[in-house]
């Protein structure tokens, strides 16, 4: 059975039929969904590394993740923590879509995983050992697994796929949307039949320290769009979406969470870390045009919303530039922390669930909305809503913007 058409054939519609989520507010769709609905937060002191000497070190780590529960084929010790997350989430997404690994083996599959740090947590551990015992003492197993490519390649190994392409997309904190977007293009053009796409990252000293030094780590909690917001909390996890063509989903009677309507990418080409309002506004417009939607059709925006002073005011400014009347604009980072390369993938999963379940997830830890942001952040409590079109923003270091548009699939 060769489902793959030539690229020049009519484009396929692309739908999401499976979700895999490893998060600090819940592992697996039911727990994650319950967390989103109830505004769960998992803030606690970071235990991933020794935080002595930092004045504060809260984060959103995952403490109840046992890789052996999820990873069956590959030896989990051969994987860094980020790859363990991505493999677990990919297994979940396939199962959630009703596809056994054997079902995937005769299909042409693209695995596309975004990340900020790859296995930097392993690199932290390696340099610590190197400082203590010299470079000759570097652990060969850890040195071997500390590479970004394994975040996607390990999914192929775990599922024992055959006709597969594994690509990791380390476009920092927007990487999840990049990975999903590329997967959308591949199905749309008939290049592949199934895509497992998303993002994964693990909390590490390196990134916590960098953000801390920049003064962008919040002492206690992450408060996107709040007047008193003080920054990000580093988080971890993975979100993987299983995508396929609409024909494929309908043929096998799969549950459809949402349709991917399109996405837009651009680059500020201006500053290594500071976001650019005009450039982000152009990226939002690009996404709308590519998805064929008007601003007025967007029911809510899942913002990048990191909770830093600069991000939230810049992002809100860009949104107000494009939307005469901005829709509710939320950030799930209040609940999940900033899960880096997983962030926009987990937000996409949240958007897909919001469409299916008819609600808008809340922005938690919210006291008073910053007037300068001027948005409705759906404070603290989820809101029941008829959600047809959602916009998911992502921004990254390097001036990289990625905006994804999801829509409800169904007879209108």
């Amino acid at each position: 059975m060769d489902e793959v058409d030539e690229a020049r054939r009519a484009p396929h519609r692309v739908v999401i039929t499976g979700l895999g989520v490893v998060t600090s507010i819940g592992i697996g769709v039911p727990e994650f969904l319950a967390g989103l609905r109830s505004g769960r937060s998992a803030v606690k002191p970071i235990t991933a590394f020794d935080t002595a000497g930092f004045a504060y070190s809260n984060g959103c780590g995952i403490e109840d993740f046992d890789p052996a529960d999820w990873i069956k084929t590959v030896d989990p010790q051969e994987l860094g923590r980020a790859a363990q997350f991505s493999v677990a989430a990919a297994r979940m997404a396939a199962a959630d879509a009703g596809l056994a690994p054997a079902d995937l083996r005769d299909r042409r599959v693209l695995v596309s995983v975004g990340t900020t740090d790859g296995e930097s947590r392993d690199l932290d551990e390696l340099i610590e050992r190197q400082l203590a015992e010299g470079p000759e003492a570097l652990d060969p197993v850890v040195a071997r697994r500390a590479t970004a490519g394994l975040l996607s390649a390990s999914v192929v190994r775990e599922l024992e796929l055959v006709d597969a392409e594994a690509v990791t997309i380390p476009t920092a904190c927007a990487a999840g949307n990049y990975a999903i977007g590329s997967g959308y293009d591949a199905i749309r053009a008939g290049e592949v039949e199934v895509v497992l796409a998303g993002g994964a990252d693990a909390i590490c000293r390196k990134t916590f320290t960098g953000f801390y030094r920049l003064g962008t780590i919040a002492p206690e909690v992450c408060q996107p769009f709040d007047r008193d917001r003080k920054g990000i909390l580093t988080g971890e996890g993975a979100g993987i979406l299983l995508m396929e063509s609409l024909e494929s989903a309908l043929r096998r009677g799969a549950r459809i969470y949402a349709e991917v309507l399109g996405y837009g990418l651009n680059c500020d080409a201006h500053h290594p870390v500071a976001p650019d309002r005009d450039s982000l506004a152009r990226c939002i417009e690009l996404a709308h045009r590519n998805a064929g939607v008007e601003p007025g059709q967007v029911d809510f925006i899942s913002a990048h919303g990191t909770g830093t002073k600069a991000n939230d005011v810049t992002e809100a400014g860009a949104i107000r530039q494009v939307f005469a009347e901005p829709p509710p604009t939320v950030s799930v980072k209040g609940m999940l922390g900033h899960t880096m390369g997983a962030a926009s993938a987990l937000a996409s999963a949240a958007c897909a669930l919001a469409i299916t379940e008819g609600f808008i997830p809340p922005t938690v830890n919210h006291r008073e909305t910053d007037e300068e942001c001027g948005l409705d952040p759906v404070p603290n409590h989820a809101r029941t809503a008829d959600v047809r079109v959602v916009q998911n923003n992502a921004l990254a270091f390097g001036g990289n913007n990625a905006v994804l548009i999801l829509g409800r699939y169904g007879p209108e």
């Binding site: 060969p140 192929v156 390097g398």
Partner: protein
């Protein structure tokens, strides 16, 4: 040409779908030198560029490596803006710089329609591990240089190349072990077919550093000498190239990947992969006259098997430059383009770039003249 708004929801961008993709320019910053002509001359002559390391500057497990001669960020790009630029970023920025210089400023007439896709192994492991080292050894764990934090994020080289040259289209970083270059090429082709840009500058960069050397040594990739380099190609539609007056060097007829289950199965996977790529391109094995493989004889035998015993010319890079890891398959592509420029392939003939990665994947690109 613009991406016109489609009439129906979910129709996606209107791009150049169906239009043939061509490669029209390339640059290569390699152990042979900063100039692609030096790379071409060296690789086509089978000359090695691996040399003795300055052991004071580069202590570590290796005595020899393929370094870009005399290369530093300040030397290649000037002092301004390079104080904190790490080596892999400088290699990437320089490769992009040389490609743009050759194409002329017209290439960036509409900078928002030019994409940049850059492959990396794990960014600069030297930058990442140095940063953590400073956190571990300083008086306070946050006594680190904030200006160097962005170097520890893997999209630094792509982002900085965009900033340096004002490239405002999609800016993506790709990683996939030693197949990174082929994966970046396929990602770039997909991006173009999806209508997200009109031209894509696409390639990969890898630096030699003491820390990378220790990791490669500890990870057990063997006693092989390491190399470094940065190379990019310009990918665009045939129609776009014609409109801009750029002559196609080669047509991109397909990129294909396949999984393998470890040593012993990689050969069969690559044979199947090459066959599938040729079949999808609608071309026959006899047309293949040049192959640039990543690996050794096992890989070569698998390719020859796929070609039904035909014996194309074999063009090796890795023994000449050292193992350039994430940049390896990009360098192989550059070697093919060097051969084409020298007129070694005639119209209708094909070249392959192939690779086998230890992490379970094989890949192949089909190029036509």
């Amino acid at each position: 040409m613009t991406t016109a708004a489609p009439a129906t929801t979910g129709a996606g961008p209107v791009g150049a779908a169906g239009d043939e993709l061509v490669l029209t320019a390339w640059s290569a910053v390699t152990p042979f030198g900063l100039d692609r002509a030096e790379f071409g001359a060296g690789v086509l002559a089978g000359r090695t560029a691996v040399g003795e390391l300055d052991r004071e500057q580069y202590p570590g497990p290796y005595a020899r490596a393929g370094l870009v001669p005399g290369f530093s960020a300040a030397e290649a790009l000037g002092r301004k803006g390079t104080r904190t630029m790490d080596r892999v970023t400088a290699l990437a920025v320089t490769a992009v710089d040389r490609l743009i210089a050759e194409c002329g400023p017209g290439l960036l007439e509409r900078p928002e329609r030019v994409g940049l896709v850059l492959g990396t192994g794990h960014g600069s492991v030297q930058s990442i591990m140095d940063f953590t080292r400073d956190s571990l050894t300083g008086e306070k764990p946050y006594h680190v240089d904030p200006a160097r934090f962005p170097n520890t994020v893997m999209n630094r080289a792509a982002g900085q190349s965009a900033i340096w040259h004002g490239i405002k289209g999609p800016n993506s970083t790709i990683a996939g072990g030693r197949l990174t270059g082929l994966l970046a090429l396929n990602y770039a082709a997909r991006l173009h077919r999806g209508g997200h840009c009109d031209q894509v500058i696409c390639g990969a960069a890898e630096e030699y550093s003491v820390q990378r050397a220790w990791l490669e040594w500890a990870g057990g990739t063997g006693a092989e000498e390491l190399g470094e380099g940065g190379t990019v190609v310009l990918l665009e539609s045939a129609a776009g190239a014609a409109a801009a007056g750029r002559r196609p060097l080669a047509r991109l007829l397909g990129v294909r990947f396949r999984a393998h289950q470890g040593p012993g199965t990689a050969g069969a996977a690559l044979t199947a992969c090459v066959r599938a790529a040729l079949e999808r391109a609608g071309r026959s094995a006899e047309e293949v006259r040049l192959v640039a493989p990543l690996g050794g004889d096992e890989e070569w035998d698998a390719v020859v098997e796929a070609l039904g015993g035909a014996a194309p010319r074999r063009l090796d890079c890795r023994p000449l430059t050292g193992d350039t890891a994430a940049a390896a398959t990009s360098l192989q592509l550059a070697a093919v383009l060097a051969s084409v420029e020298r007129g070694e392939l005639s119209e209708g003939q094909l070249a392959l770039v192939t690779g086998t990665d230890r992490d379970g994947q094989v890949g192949c690109a089909v190029l036509g003249v």
